[in-house]
């Protein structure tokens, strides 16, 4: 083999602590190396041309580039050698930047280490073989998990482009958290007025299949060809027959059911449509609240239903959908303020959370949009908002900023003044974080035009005095402890990852951070991709986000899917496992360790049983290779031979 070695200076990134000239010079002593040089920026256009020129002039059959991490530029150089006529796998990269120049100051030692890494790369390259990708067809259907505003946006964008969309929503209706909001910052436009039409669009698009009150059970397959099992939970109402007339809700005798949509502030019936704009607008029986399920008697809804839609014997049902890409838009949950015993949420009815106040403000809420306090229905004269409840607080394991609370408090204070012009609002805050477009102006408006009193300090405790609540806090700007008597206290509870987020991540084989938020592929440059090909992220499942950012990500994820689906086939990675049948003893250990189910049995003509790799399913992890007792199964491009040759080079 004729090998060329190119040592990159990376400006001064490598050259300042590695003698790149000496590394190139030394490389000429290694077997099969016929050409070696160093260059200022090998990844640049002229740098790549330099490689291509050398391939032609010196009839090179393989190339080693000693530069940065292969994560950075392996793809770049593979394309470059391919253009010059080599197979893209006849290329190796030695990482002498992240692994050498950036981490050590001793130039002599660094140079020696760089030489050894180049030598390892050369020895591996000598054993490389050309590999060829195969093409598999892409199933141009997309699954969107989560029907909040991010998922709705992604689904509509994909549907507008003509794709078949499957939308799975865990709750009875799509709409997510946004459907519970009264108005939105910083424009004070009505939440259901702007979200409602989008929800209706989802219902009306013929190419969107909506599975509401359903959950993803299992995901298998790979980019372009996923198989998804979806569990449609029993609603005890035949949704094909139900017209959403609401007669059953009127007649249901179990009227004391806690209203979850209204954040437990009111009651509803055991058979329910969560809110008037629900999509799909279909009824569901909440089993634990239903009189028939508890006593075996009642059946009022069944008798009254004009379309005979009620079926008490309904069971969960499983459907299977085949898709080529998945957009995860599972949103967030709100922090439960119970750990803050000193704030008394749950103990005092007039200490509520931000989302509860949102329902109080809403015209479709428990009080019909009249601002009243839950304990006695009186109109509050003083309202205190407490920021950062479950945000920026290590002691409750929520050290991050939730990003939306500063803005929703300002909005709620403004709306409270709009509803009750006489009300005085106070906000206890640590910092005001309002970096969006027109956001800070909005907060200033709350302070300047609406007279909201902003107090810079945290709240120590909240306790009752007469029929009011005393909020004891600090004003750190005054350097004083302050006390505010309030009729209603609103805790601005922060954002946390959605319930069940980790379990879903494991089904999708995507990673999540310590708080359960999904990991993007790159925090700046690949914000909606995951490290699992074909799975994309949108909205607050990736981290706290407001509506504009969630919508933007919904569209971004849709555009990624459209880019993927612009082709009819997808190239599979040839770096997969392969079985040498003459060596395979049919022990089956590879089958049991494969995390992807990519290995199956194959019976030869003589009746012997051998392992067989499904190349499109194999992810190239190498577990089988490490496990195989006779070393019959080898991961291509990372064979035992190649890795041992690298080690020999290092130890020689």
């Amino acid at each position: 083999m004729r090998i060329g070695v190119f040592v990159c200076q990376c400006g001064t990134n490598i050259a300042s602590t590695v003698d790149t000239g000496a590394v190139a010079q030394r490389a000429l002593d290694y077997p099969d190396v016929v050409f070696a040089t160093d260059y200022m920026y090998t990844c640049s256009e002229p740098g790549q041309q330099e490689i291509q020129k050398a391939i032609a002039e010196h009839r090179l059959q393989g190339v080693v580039v000693a530069a940065c991490s292969p994560r950075m530029h392996e793809a770049t150089f593979r394309r470059a050698v391919e253009k010059a006529g080599l197979n893209r796998y006849m290329f190796e990269m030695a990482n002498i930047r992240e692994h050498v120049s950036w981490i050590g100051q001793d130039k002599g030692a660094n140079t020696l280490k760089a030489m050894e890494l180049v030598r390892m790369a050369v020895e591996k390259l000598r054993r490389n073989e050309p590999l060829f990708a195969s093409e598999v067809p892409i199933n141009k259907r997309v699954l969107v998990i989560g029907g909040g505003v991010a998922g709705i946006q992604a689904a509509l964008d994909c549907a507008d482009a003509g794709l078949d969309v499957v939308l799975v929503e865990r709750e009875q209706s799509i709409g997510g958290k946004m459907a519970k909001l009264d108005k939105t910052f910083p424009t004070i436009d009505c939440s259901s007025c702007i979200l409602g039409p989008k929800m209706v669009d989802v219902a009306q698009k013929e190419n969107i299949t909506l599975h509401a009150y359903s959950e993803v059970e299992a995901v298998s397959g790979y980019i372009g060809n996923f198989t998804v099992k979806i569990r449609k939970k029993a609603t005890y109402v035949d949704w094909d027959a139900c017209t959403g007339c609401g007669l059953c809700m009127e007649k249901c005798p179990s009227k004391k059911t806690v209203d979850r949509f209204n954040e437990n502030l009111g009651t509803t019936s055991a058979i329910q449509i969560p809110f008037p704009q629900a999509i799909p607008k279909k009824a569901r029986i909440q089993k634990d609240a239903c009189r028939y399920f508890a006593t075996g008697k009642c059946k009022v809804c069944q008798k009254i239903c004009p379309t005979n839609a009620i079926h008490y014997d309904m069971e969960d049902r499983e459907v299977v959908e085949e898709v080529g890409a998945i957009i995860v838009a599972t949103g967030y949950d709100l922090f439960d303020p119970a750990p803050y015993g000193e704030y008394g949420a749950g103990r005092y009815p007039d200490v509520i959370t931000g989302i509860q106040f949102e329902r109080i403000l809403s015209a479709s809420g428990p009080f019909g949009g009249h601002v009243k306090r839950p304990s006695d229905g009186k109109e509050p004269k003083d309202i205190v908002f407490v920021a950062c409840v479950g945000s920026r607080d290590k002691s409750v394991d929520r050290p991050y900023c939730s990003g939306i609370c500063c803005m929703y408090i300002a909005k709620q204070a403004i709306l409270a003044r709009d509803h009750l012009p006489g009300v005085q609002c106070y906000v206890f805050y640590m910092d005001i974080r309002s970096p969006g477009k027109n956001y800070d102006e909005f907060v200033r408006r709350a302070i300047e035009e609406y007279g909201v009193q902003y107090i810079r300090g945290r709240v120590g405790k909240i306790y009752p005095r007469g029929d009011r609540m005393v909020v004891q806090g600090a004003d750190t700007l005054l350097g004083a402890q302050v006390e505010v008597e309030a009729d209603l206290v609103v805790l601005a509870t922060g954002v946390e990852s959605s319930r069940g987020a980790k379990e879903l991540a494991e089904k999708l084989r995507i990673s999540y951070d310590q708080y359960g938020f999904y990991m993007e592929s790159h925090p700046k440059l690949r914000p909606v991709e995951t490290n699992t090909a074909g799975v994309y992220l949108a909205g607050a499942c990736q981290g706290p986000k407001d509506i504009p950012a969630s919508v933007a990500q919904g569209s971004a994820a849709a555009s990624k899917v459209l880019a993927l689906f612009a082709r009819d086939t997808i190239a599979t990675d040839p770096q997969v496992a392969g079985v040498l049948e003459s060596v395979c003893i049919g022990c089956g250990k590879c089958l049991s360790v494969c995390p992807f189910g990519a290995i199956q049995w194959k019976t030869l003509r003589d009746g012997s049983r051998k392992a067989e790799v499904l190349e499109t399913v194999c992810q190239g992890c190498g577990l089988c290779n490490a496990t195989c007792p006779p070393k019959a199964i080898q991961l291509k491009h990372f064979t035992d031979d190649q890795i041992l040759a690298e080690l020999d080079a290092l130890c020689a």
């Binding site: 300090g457 600090a474 402890q481």
Partner: protein, 191 residues
């Protein structure tokens, strides 16, 4: 600022090693404080402090050693630990106050001499009797502060309720308690 210094030349008055020393001796990461103010919001004695607790934390961060060690707040702290309980950064603020008192004594910068005297007499009483002998402590404290009639008006009531013993209570393990105090005193550098 409350001591009338509205201009603080923070470089001139800065003790560069102060933060590190307070952190080492208290075992608390004072540098993590982001000034939410919850310590002051929860403090039971902030109305008599010259600097509220959050400002003490800030002064430590800025290395303003003399201002911290000479302040009254560190002596008026009642160690109720409300600040410690509610700090979102898990800083034991009361422990820091304790550390500052020890440092103030070492530096001879005690602002509240009487309170320091009370601490000393309390410990002496514990060393002598194994637990505190309140009547003796009160007498010694009142005499040494030169205000012998402090709280004397309460005496009839507490005596009637049997809250004050005329003789110290003998407890088991007095010698061991005394040894603990002695071991601590011997381990300290000369003050």
């Amino acid at each position: 600022m409350k001591n009338g210094q509205n201009l603080l030349r923070i470089q001139e008055s800065r003790d560069a090693g102060f933060v590190e020393r307070v952190e080492r001796e208290s075992g608390q990461r004072v540098s993590q404080c982001y000034q939410c103010g919850n310590c002051s919001a929860s403090c039971a004695y902030t109305h008599v402090y010259d600097f509220p607790a959050n400002q003490i934390m800030r002064l430590i961060q800025l290395g303003q050693r003399d201002m911290v060690l000479r302040c009254r707040s560190i002596w008026l702290c009642a160690q109720c630990q409300a600040c410690t309980t509610r700090c979102p950064c898990n800083i034991d603020v009361a422990r820091v106050m304790e550390t500052l008192r020890v440092m103030a004594v070492e530096a001879g910068q005690v602002s509240e001499k009487d309170i320091r005297l009370f601490y000393d007499e309390f410990l002496k009483s514990v060393a002598a009797f194994g637990r505190v002998f309140e009547t003796g402590l009160l007498a010694a404290y009142n005499l040494k502060t030169g205000k012998p009639l402090t709280d004397a008006d309460l005496a009839p009531q507490v005596l009637r309720k049997g809250k004050l013993a005329l003789m110290p209570q003998r407890i088991r393990g007095r010698k061991e308690v005394a040894a603990i105090v002695r071991r601590f005193v011997d381990a300290q550098p000369q003050r």
